[in-house]
């Protein structure tokens, strides 16, 4: 039986990772394990802490479950801080009691440094480290307008973004002359600042705060040494972190001059029975404020407790790649060229907002470091050159130049040595990935499950996928891009086959290029391709059985088999007369009525046979189908724009209506959403759409490939100050290129993320016509616009098509007994099981 006791102090990211490693190791059988955590919650993912403000809960962020701890026999004491360590007796004290240990692990992390400024203890001053901190900030932000972050480093900017997401005017106050002084140089910092200010965060550099005083109720005034001041409602300190070494200090362990518990290569402190890992530990005069080095320490310690003395912590790479407020920032290795003799190569495109700097060795052969702002697409390649000491090419500048100016494409996975680290969170090398594949992993999912690669921060996902694909291909495993068992092709292949061969029906396609009878994967995919290519009615006899449920009946099926109806309301503009018709029709058929998130009206609860009748009435009043059921254009959201709004600089409603009417018939791999805002205040939220348009004094700025939904993505700025005609032409090209090349059910955001060469490449194709296909793309779009028909109008006018809308073909008037109703807030809705009479 277990006789010895292992105590872990701190249930943070690293403490938890250590337990995951240790619990499954042979040594675990010899120990009772106790864990003490100061926080109320089970260890959670602090790296993604800010997502707590955008909808994630503790459960989403949690790293494990209480059940897991129980299953592993670990005794978990949350909300019970250790207050003292008695090294003589080998015991720790908490407010609830005293516990003996044989081995002790300190994983106490770090705490935010708050500079000694008068007034820093004001109740409206906060730090940004724990869920509780965020609860407090959220509570205070409720009545607030302005928030200031003290500290312009990585965490400070993240906190500023969080304040913005809470609806505050955000300011950043930085002592140094530039943002992110640790990772960036002056040019990089300046560009980052410009980009962030455009996004509405005000930056104040070279400001030393001397005092915080209350003015007018709870409002605060920050006074600076240059006698300027700033008024705000709340302040978040993010001026760096300090290792949490209080316990270690008071029990006499060796501590570094500037804090941190000193550890050796096996993560053991000056007491052989006490170990320290994570941000509280000091190794070789360094603390590591990132999670990956902490994880490496955790693995090293677990190995050491298993008597594996070969495992050693030997430092860690502190390179970082992030998106701060939607701006790419990367910093690799010796970014500041501190190595003697180091030389620099810089590329600075102020127009595009891209800055790249390479630091290379004196002999020009090796990459020592790099800085990237505005575009991280070169990060993975540069990091691999730097970490693996790969020889630079003859003209190293080609690595950071745009391809159009002689740049070379990204370093393929083949060029990497086996030792190359692919995933730093879980320390997975290229060799590990190859081993997993040799051991039988035949796809990305299996490699992930087997190695844990790409299950941490996710930063390595693209690289891992490329590596796995290339290794599988090398082994002759076909990397299946086939959409299903019936077609050995990807969606893009099928698109080309259909278009080049002029194929007009599914039957022809499957007979000539596939096998079997098709299924619910390939049929709707082909239906969408046929619609994009030839734009025939989706309910034509050949096409109707291919359509997804909602397309088949041109309405959205609800959980009880009834349907919702969403007429198009272009740009969200509607006349009172049309509103009245919607109300009258809804009333006549007792339809539940709701304003949607897309600026239109949804009518729920129509039965199959009611659909054509209802549409007849709506069409008579001038409505058209809204394609709420289709993988096609949904809405073009607008703000009121220059017609009414005192800030508007262009007619955003007019443009939104124009766009909606132009693209309303286009069938695509997935749904497409757009928005047009009349000025930079962006009330239409265009930057979260597939196509976003924002008015400027001189025309329109175009953003592409944004997404709301499950995984939101900020759209990328694609072109600026376009005229009306230029705007339409550019959107035509982007959309057509998307429709032709995206995978099945791939939104523009994921399409962009998977595109080799990314945004730059898309710009070359669309703006510079690098493939010479733009004229064809425009012509194709013109064909689709020209052949638009309201599907519902054609359907209600055609008795053959109408026949489909019968619940029971042999019993007209027979009600579906499953559809039971009740009333809530004065409207009809489906009755729950217990409500059914």
């Amino acid at each position: 039986m277990s006789n010895k006791t292992l105590i872990v102090i701190g249930n943070g990211m690293v403490g938890h990772h250590f337990l995951e490693q240790f619990a499954d190791s042979p040594a675990a059988a010899g120990f009772n394990v106790l864990v003490f955590g100061e926080e109320k919650q089970l260890a959670y993912d602090r790296v993604h802490l800010s997502e707590y403000f955008t909808g994630s809960t503790h459960t989403d962020l949690a790293m494990g479950t209480a059940d897991w701890y129980r299953a592993k026999g670990i005794d978990l004491h949350l909300h019970e801080p250790v207050t003292a360590i008695d090294r003589e007796r080998r015991a720790v004290t908490t407010p609830k009691g005293s516990y003996r240990y044989d081995e002790l692990v300190l994983a106490t992390g770090s705490y935010p440094f708050v500079p000694p400024i008068d007034g820093r203890d004001n109740p409206n001053c906060f730090v940004y480290r724990t869920l509780e901190d965020l609860d407090r900030i959220r509570a205070c932000a409720g009545g607030a307008r302005t928030g200031v972050v003290v500290g312009g480093g990585l965490l400070g900017l993240e906190a500023a973004n969080a304040l913005k997401s809470l609806g505050l005017d955000a300011h950043v106050v930085e002592f140094a002359p530039r943002l992110m002084p640790v990772q960036l140089d002056d040019d990089g910092g300046a560009l980052l600042r410009r980009k962030i200010e455009v996004l509405g965060v005000q930056v104040h550099t070279e400001k030393a705060t001397t005092a915080i005083v209350n003015v007018k109720g709870s409002r605060l005034r920050m006074e600076f040494s240059d006698e300027s001041f700033l008024e705000t409602d709340l302040i978040v300190f993010s001026a760096g972190i300090r290792p949490q070494d209080t316990l270690a200090r008071s029990c006499g362990l060796d501590i570094g001059e500037r804090g941190g518990i000193i550890i050796d290569n096996h993560c053991t402190t000056s007491d052989p029975h006490i170990h320290a890992i994570g941000e509280c530990a000091l190794w070789n005069q360094q603390v590591f404020g990132l999670v990956a080095p902490g994880y490496t320490m955790a693995r090293t310690l677990s190995a050491a407790l298993n008597d594996d003395r070969d495992a050693a912590f030997t430092g860690a790479d502190m390179s970082t790649k992030l998106k701060l407020l939607g701006v790419d920032v990367g910093s690799i290795g010796d970014a500041h060229a501190r190595t003697p003799g180091a030389r620099n190569i810089r590329f600075n495109d102020e127009k595009a907002g891209h800055y790249r700097r390479m630091v290379i060795s004196e002999d020009g052969r090796k990459l020592l470091g790099a800085i990237l702002v505005g575009d991280n697409s070169h990060y993975d390649t540069l990091l691999q050159y730097c970490l693996n000491g790969i020889d630079l090419p003859e003209n190293p500048e080609s690595l950071i130049l745009p391809e159009s100016q002689g740049g070379t494409p990204a370093l393929g996975p083949d060029a990497l040595p086996d030792t190359a680290q692919i995933c730093s969170c879980h320390n997975v090398s290229k060799g590990d990935v190859c081993c997993a594949i040799d051991a039988g992993a035949t796809d990305l999912g299996a490699v992930k499950a087997g190695t844990k690669a790409s299950t941490g921060c996710g930063g390595c996902a693209a690289l891992l996928k490329n590596l796995v694909d290339s290794e599988l291909e090398k082994r002759g495993v076909e990397v299946s891009k086939d959409i299903c068992e019936h077609f050995p092709y990807s969606r893009q292949d099928l698109f080309n086959i259909v278009r080049v061969n002029g194929i007009r029906t599914f039957r022809t396609l499957i007979r000539q290029h596939g096998k079997g009878h098709g299924c619910d994967i390939c049929k709707p995919t082909v239906a969408s391709i046929l619609a994009t290519c030839w734009n025939e009615h989706i309910l034509a006899t050949d096409h109707v059985p291919l359509q997804d449920t909602n397309d088949t009946f041109m309405a959205n099926m609800q959980k009880n088999g009834t349907y919702s109806i969403v007429p198009r309301i272009p740009g969200g503009e509607i006349t009172p007369d049309k509103l009245i018709v919607l109300g009258e029709v809804a009333k006549e058929y007792d339809l539940y009525t709701k304003i949607t998130g897309g600026q239109r009206v949804d009518l729920f609860g129509a039965t199959l046979s009611e659909l054509p009748e209802i549409w007849e009435k709506l069409i008579a009043a001038g409505f058209e189908t809204g394609h709420a059921y289709g993988k096609s254009l949904r809405t073009v959201k607008s703000c009121v724009g220059s017609t009414w709004c005192r800030y508007g600089v262009q007619d955003s409603v007019g443009m939104a209506i124009h766009l909606e009417n132009r693209y309303k018939g286009l069938r695509a791999p997935h749904k497409v959403k757009m928005a047009v805002s009349g000025c930079t205040r962006e009330c239409a939220e265009a930057q979260s759409k597939d196509i976003g348009v924002i008015a400027t004094e001189n025309g329109w700025n175009l953003y592409v490939c944004g997404n709301g939904g499950m995984r939101p993505r900020h759209a990328d700025l694609f072109a600026t100050d376009l005229s009306d005609d230029e705007l339409i032409r550019t959107i035509d090209r982007v959309l057509m290129f998307y429709v032709r090349t995206a995978d099945r059910l791939q939104r523009t955001s994921v399409w962009m993320e998977n595109m080799k060469g990314g945004l730059d490449y898309l710009k070359q194709v669309v703006l510079d016509d690098s493939l010479g296909i733009c004229a064809e793309l425009e012509q194709h779009m013109a064909d689709i616009v020209g052949t638009y028909q309201c599907e519902w109008r054609s359907a209600v006018e055609d008795p053959e098509k109408r026949k489909r809308f019968r619940e029971f073909v042999n019993a007209p008037g027979q009600k579906d007994p499953v559809q039971q109703w009740t009333t809530e807030r004065s409207q009809r809705r489906p009755a729950g099981e217990t409500e059914v009479a």
Partner: protein, 122 residues
């Protein structure tokens, strides 16, 4: 107990939609009839009720074949049902009633068990 069956006429050929399904009302509840003209036999019938949602919608699903079996995918949560046996492919413990169905001239006849239809009526 002795059960006799009867072949009821439920609709005509013109009501069928090639490669897809339609629903009919019977004493045995709603039944989905699929017409796959490129197969032999071309007609299939299973219950119209989706066991996962309780909604009467199976006739509105997409038909096809998986590993050679003729199937329909439920339009709500996309599980597949074998059109001959009614077996759900994703969940062994779930299946729906299946029926024999045939074409008699222009009429589509469905085999219903009399015992069951009597029980319903009683």
């Amino acid at each position: 107990m002795k059960t006799t069956t009867q072949w009821n006429i439920v609709c005509t050929v013109d009501d069928l939609v090639p490669e897809s399904g339609i629903a009919v009302w019977t004493d045995d509840g709603p039944v989905a009839i699929f017409y796959l003209p490129h197969r032999l036999p071309a007609l299939f019938a299973i219950s119209h009720t989706d066991p996962f949602s309780g909604a009467n919608v199976l006739a509105r699903g997409i038909t096809g074949d998986l590993n050679g079996q003729p199937v329909v995918a439920s339009p709500l949560y996309k599980q597949h049902f074998n059109l001959v046996t009614g077996q759900c492919l994703e969940d062994e413990s779930v299946s729906v009633n299946s029926y024999r169905v045939l074409l008699d001239g222009n009429a589509v006849r469905l085999e219903l068990t009399r015992a069951r239809s009597l029980a319903k009526a009683a």
